[in-house]
Symmetry: none
Subunit: 240 residues, 2 copies
DNA sequence: CAGTGGTCTAGACCACAAG
DNA sequence: TTGTGGTCTAGACCACTGG
């Protein structure tokens, strides 16, 4: 991954920004950066596009490139910058991957909702995977995922106690690189409060999503309930 | 707008896709498209990136470019095609625009936080606009926005009792087409509960964001607190 | 006017997919 | 092996910002 020119640029710039090296929030201009990194300006632009998409910087024609002050204030707890769009890669704290506790693993008939989300025929079977994710002693997410049996016929509790998507990538060469997510909030239930160590009046953030393999085949439909302090999603939108 | 090469490509491809001209869902390869459109392959790639971001097509190295079948099945979910990124255009219920009640309108000196977000000098003045948005009798958002006085010197309570961005577009030809948002959730305060008609244990969704004009000048910094049932954010992510 | 990002081109070479 | 997208370069010219 990091042997790509623009990836190297992204990583270095991200590191510099996170280390507050640009105290006035202004980055060197693209031509200077190209020289400094000894790459073409196009590669700088490609890297910038990624950082812009992440909400880390923004550019202003005629003025320059600036660190996004909101990024500095609201360091995202997750962003889509890893190898795939799964929880293990996108939720990291100080570079640490979350711990996983498997609450339940079963095979069930897909409900209508699950059927629709995963484009299954009536009666097809899915794994239901309930997991709790934590950083050390702090649990932050209850995950209830559905995966078609026919796509991963050999799933075991052992596999889901680690990163499912990393397993798919390493042993099956399946990359999960797309996701469609709906982000919302909800009152916490008694179970939420117990598992996520929440007070009764504290809410959960919810994320509901479909995850896709490269070709566009849906591989997982997932409900996630997060400790509200751990749900912080950054998004940059440009209308065309 | 449409005099840009890549915009022309985007528009034509989008139109062809919407007209189901690619019956097998496969587009011509990039080199062919470059020839057909009489542009460079780089311009085709730039256009493709926009269509990919919109969820309209996806590419697979070695295979080609394909129309996203999910886009065909559920177009509105992936189309981000309002006129601007403001609340009035993006929050609509059955095509209805929300009502606005102005809670407060003042001119104040920008705090350091606001200064940074809007790229102002110390001591510059901003409007502070507090508004409550409702659908009929159901309030759903408390909005606390800051707009530099110098950018909109003639702001009045009358203007902010309607859509500020629509006013800017119509009377000043300023389009607000970019936004950076941080989405999270929080325990509701007494004020939230009163204004949004929430029970004490019910939470708010929060959105904090900077809104930008076309060329990147920030025009508003806004804190939004939403009735949790009305915060639903959809996002489509593609890695690489 | 100088500084800076935006657009666009032409072309080379690499990496992956599928026959 | 051929087709296809991915990466990368070098450089030209345009458009906007701000002194």
């Amino acid at each position: 991954m990091a042997d790509l020119v623009y990836q190297r640029v992204i990583n270095k710039l991200q590191k510099s920004i996170d280390a507050n090296e640009y105290t006035d929030l202004k980055l060197p201009n693209e031509r200077i950066l190209a020289e400094e990194f000894n790459v073409s300006r196009s590669s700088i632009k490609k890297a910038m596009n990624v950082l812009i998409q992440r909400g880390v910087v923004f550019q202003k024609q005629g003025s320059g490139t600036f660190v996004n002050p909101l990024y500095l204030k609201n360091r995202p707890l997750f962003n889509f910058s890893g190898d795939n769009v799964g929880v293990t890669d996108t939720f990291q704290k100080d570079g640490e991957r979350p711990d996983i506790r498997v609450l339940d693993l079963n095979v069930v008939k897909a409900t209508e909702e699950v059927q629709q989300a995963l484009f299954l025929e009536p009666g097809e079977f899915v794994y239901e995977i309930k997991r709790l994710r934590s950083f050390g002693t702090q649990p932050f997410m209850i995950e209830d995922g559905f995966v078609p049996v026919k796509l991963v016929p050999d799933l075991t509790e052992d596999i889901v106690s680690g990163s499912l998507y990393n397993y798919l990538q390493e042993s099956r060469n399946i990359a999960v690189t797309r996701s469609f997510l709906t982000i919302s909030a909800d009152v916490s239930t008694a179970q939420d409060q117990e598992l996520l160590q929440l007070k009764p009046n504290e809410p959960v953030g919810t994320m509901e999503g479909i995850f896709f393999m490269d070709r566009g085949t849906p591989i997982e439909f997932s409900h996630m309930r997060l400790h509200y302090k751990f749900m912080r999603y950054n998004t940059f939108t440009v209308l065309n």
